[in-house]
């Protein structure tokens, strides 16, 4: 088999197109357009392609994101504050008695902050206290977090987003960190990895959320003793199959797991135990040379999430021409260093 070639320009074009206009089939993302924006911008940053956007476009994006912020007012109680994922119901912002339908979502707040930092915004217009109290209001007695206030579902995804927000804003005083750790630890399974909730099947995505959360809290060792680390490491390296990674045992490989499991192993300091060459081949074989972008497997078409996470996976294993990423926050190392500077300035 010939070695597949990596062609970064095609993927930059793919992201620039996504930033502009998405086809009608993407209407299912109408309520979470911020996720597309996040994947496109983080992806472009990894490709070192942010400059090609131009300053005025970057400014437009920053303004668009800030419009999604809900700040405390007569019509917006503090527990609804944070960022919305789109403009679908933005007309209800500041409308009396409609906060039930116009509220933030913790995944969207996490992505909004990552976007702003990636574009060089200093977060000075983020109502930090409101965001942090908003996050705190989503924590349940078992330590987990809901996605949003009204009937939101709760699992490790939103634990991760909440802890990442606290990490970015450098303040975890509003939440119960010990309960969050307890919840994460309750999601640890007999086979050595984490499910979305206690008792549910181990999954590459939830395992990433658990490990990244613990690493952001600097508490990896408090949940994973030597033996647990050992079986988690085995579970994670065993996910490599046919070159790529699968999310669960006996499932087909999918490019996004090169990130979810690659980042998990990277955080644990164990990424050298995988076969990087075959992982690289698998991911690159799912690049689309007509449209640019990466698909999850050969039977699918590219989408922004799999394109971004494929690039993250490639960056982790040291692909040339790609900027390195911070595996716990899932932004580039450059953006994470810039974040450190902002945090120091505000101290």
């Amino acid at each position: 088999m010939t070695k597949p070639e990596f062609k970064p320009e095609q993927h930059k074009k793919y992201f620039r197109r996504s930033l502009d206009l998405l086809p009608g089939e993407s209407a299912v993302f109408d309520y979470s357009r911020l996720t597309i924006l996040y994947f496109a911008l983080i992806g472009l940053d990894i490709l070192d392609g942010l400059d090609s956007l131009g300053d005025s476009r970057k400014k437009d994006i920053v303004e668009w994101v800030y419009r999604l912020q809900l700040v405390p007012s007569d019509h917006c109680p503090v527990h609804k504050c944070g960022f919305m994922g789109s403009t679908t119901v933005i007309h209800l912002k500041n409308h009396p008695n409609r906060d039930k339908f116009c509220e933030s979502n913790v995944a969207m707040t996490y992505m909004a902050l990552c976007i702003l930092v990636t574009l060089g915004d200093d977060l000075s217009r983020v109502d930090k206290s409101a965001v942090l109290r908003g996050v705190a209001s989503l924590q349940k007695p078992d330590g987990s977090f809901k996605s949003n206030y009204e009937h939101g579902e709760s699992d490790l995804r939103f634990v991760y987003c909440s802890l990442a927000i606290c990490n970015i804003l450098d303040d975890s005083s509003t939440i119960n960190v010990n309960n969050a750790i307890k919840f994460i630890s309750n999601c640890f399974n007999y086979d050595g990895a984490f499910g979305q909730n206690p008792g549910t099947e181990s999954h590459g995505g939830s395992t990433y959320c658990a490990i990244a959360s613990l690493s952001l809290l600097d508490q990896l060792n408090s949940v994973l003793d030597e033996n647990k680390s050992k079986i988690l490491e085995r579970w994670a390296v065993n996910r490599q199959t046919n070159g790529g990674f699968q999310g669960r045992p006996n499932k087909d490989p999918d490019t996004c797991y090169s990130f979810w499991l690659g980042a998990t192993l990277s955080i644990m300091g164990s990424l050298n135990r995988i076969n990087k060459d075959r992982n690289r081949d698998f991911v690159l074989n799912n690049a689309n040379f007509i449209t640019g972008g990466f698909s999850k497997n050969m039977d699918s078409i590219p989408d922004p999430m799999h394109t971004c996470l494929s690039l993250c996976g490639l960056s982790l294993i040291g692909e040339e021409k790609l900027n390195p990423i911070n595996p716990s926050l899932n932004i580039t190392v450059r953006a994470a260093n810039y974040l450190k500077q902002i945090q120091l300035r505000n101290m």
């Binding site: 206009l21 089939e25 109408d30 309520y31 668009w64 679908t88 909730n197 099947e201 135990r273």
Partner: protein, 353 residues
């Protein structure tokens, strides 16, 4: 994590003309009329999406999508809770079930109109059948079932959905929620799991559910013993099945004084002696040997060397994709027992594989 990506968008109809021309899609929508052209909606002023001065990640919405959501924005603003509002919300959900607000508003209307929640349960059953891997649909079902406080149809319903895809994470997670929230639902769960494992012995979700059930029952030694035999049988049917091996290792967590380890060790040794070289078998043997060694007697040194041989066999013959991993395990064992001289060194070229 990618579940929300594909299935809904493939199924949501973005093309209106397709509705009109494709007879296979004719389920009452062949005469579809835009809300803006419906006389009974004349009194409502649609509200366009307000994207602000600069647009990013725009979506080329279909005419139908914009029409429905422009009217949805109007009624949620006016707060109208009526029969026609419910129909509109139903259309909005069909176009984008991943919209949290439509679900929250739907529930408001349903409660306000005092609609029979059993009918609402039927409705959500149909929506879930169409969008089996959407998060919001399952969450909505949870809300309805909680309010009804009646889980009587839930195991059957999730079984139906698992019949479409026996590894559907949403369905399993929901099923566990039902079982832990309402009592007396666990009785037949082991039979259910048994059937699924018989249908597909590699179904990891079913194995996980088996552990969930056993773990919840506070098993005594007899139960664990039975599980051990069950798992041995299943492993012998397909020795390379990681799910069964992981389950076996999970059972060892119930071991006291190494009794289970002895049984597992005997099983593994017999399998090995018969010539089986499943990577999970070899991996398990390495762990068991490692635990078993507690002295520097000659016999124990031989055991360690055997473990090192297994690592080497895995790295070079049976599991070469994880060559680096086995080299690492091998060097851990070398260091732990200070064995420097042996014939099973694993060489890694240029620090990679």
């Amino acid at each position: 994590m990618d579940d929300r990506k594909k299935s809904p968008e493939l199924k949501s109809d973005s093309s209106d003309s397709a509705d009109e021309t494709d007879p296979s899609r004719n389920n009452g929508c062949s005469n579809y009329v835009m809300y803006r052209d419906r006389p009974e909606w004349k009194d409502v002023q649609p509200v366009a999406q307000d994207d602000g001065p600069a647009q990013v990640v725009r979506i080329a919405y279909s005419e139908k999508f914009s029409d429905v959501f422009d009217y949805f924005r109007a009624i949620i603003k006016s707060g109208e809770k009526s029969e026609r509002a419910l129909n509109l919300v139903t259309d909005a959900i069909t176009l984008n079930p991943a919209n949290y607000t439509v679900w929250i508003y739907r529930l408001e209307i349903v409660l306000y109109l005092k609609i029979d929640l059993h009918n609402e349960l039927d409705y959500i059953s149909n929506v879930i059948r169409e969008f089996t891997k959407n998060y919001q649909v399952w969450q909505y079902r949870k809300n309805i079932v909680e309010m009804l406080n009646d889980p009587s149809g839930e195991l059957e319903f999730t079984a139906d959905i698992l019949d479409l895809d026996a590894k559907n994470y949403h369905a399993w997670q929901y099923r566990q929620w039902v079982i832990t929230t309402f009592s007396n639902l666990i009785e037949n769960e082991l039979n259910f799991v048994d059937d699924l494992i018989s249908q597909d012995i590699r179904n990891n979700s079913a194995w996980n559910q088996r552990y969930f059930v056993i773990n919840m029952s506070n098993p005594n030694a007899d139960v664990i013993d039975k599980e051990l035999k069950y798992t041995f049988d299943k492993i012998q049917i397909l020795t390379k099945n990681e799910s069964a091996w992981n389950y076996l290792r999970g059972l060892l967590l119930y071991s006291e004084n190494g009794i289970l380890e002895d049984k597992v060790s005997t099983f593994c040794t017999q399998l090995y002696d018969k010539g089986n070289r499943s990577i999970h078998l070899l991996s398990c043997l390495i762990d068991l040997l490692d635990v078993d060694v507690n002295s520097t007697e000659l016999e124990d040194v031989e055991k360690v060397k055997f473990a090192l041989k297994l690592c080497s066999d895995l790295a070079s013959v049976y599991d070469p994709i994880r060559r680096s991993y086995w080299a690492y395990i091998s060097s851990n064992i070398e260091n732990k027992y200070s064995i420097k001289e042996h014939d099973f060194k694993i060489v890694i070229s240029n620090g990679n594989n």
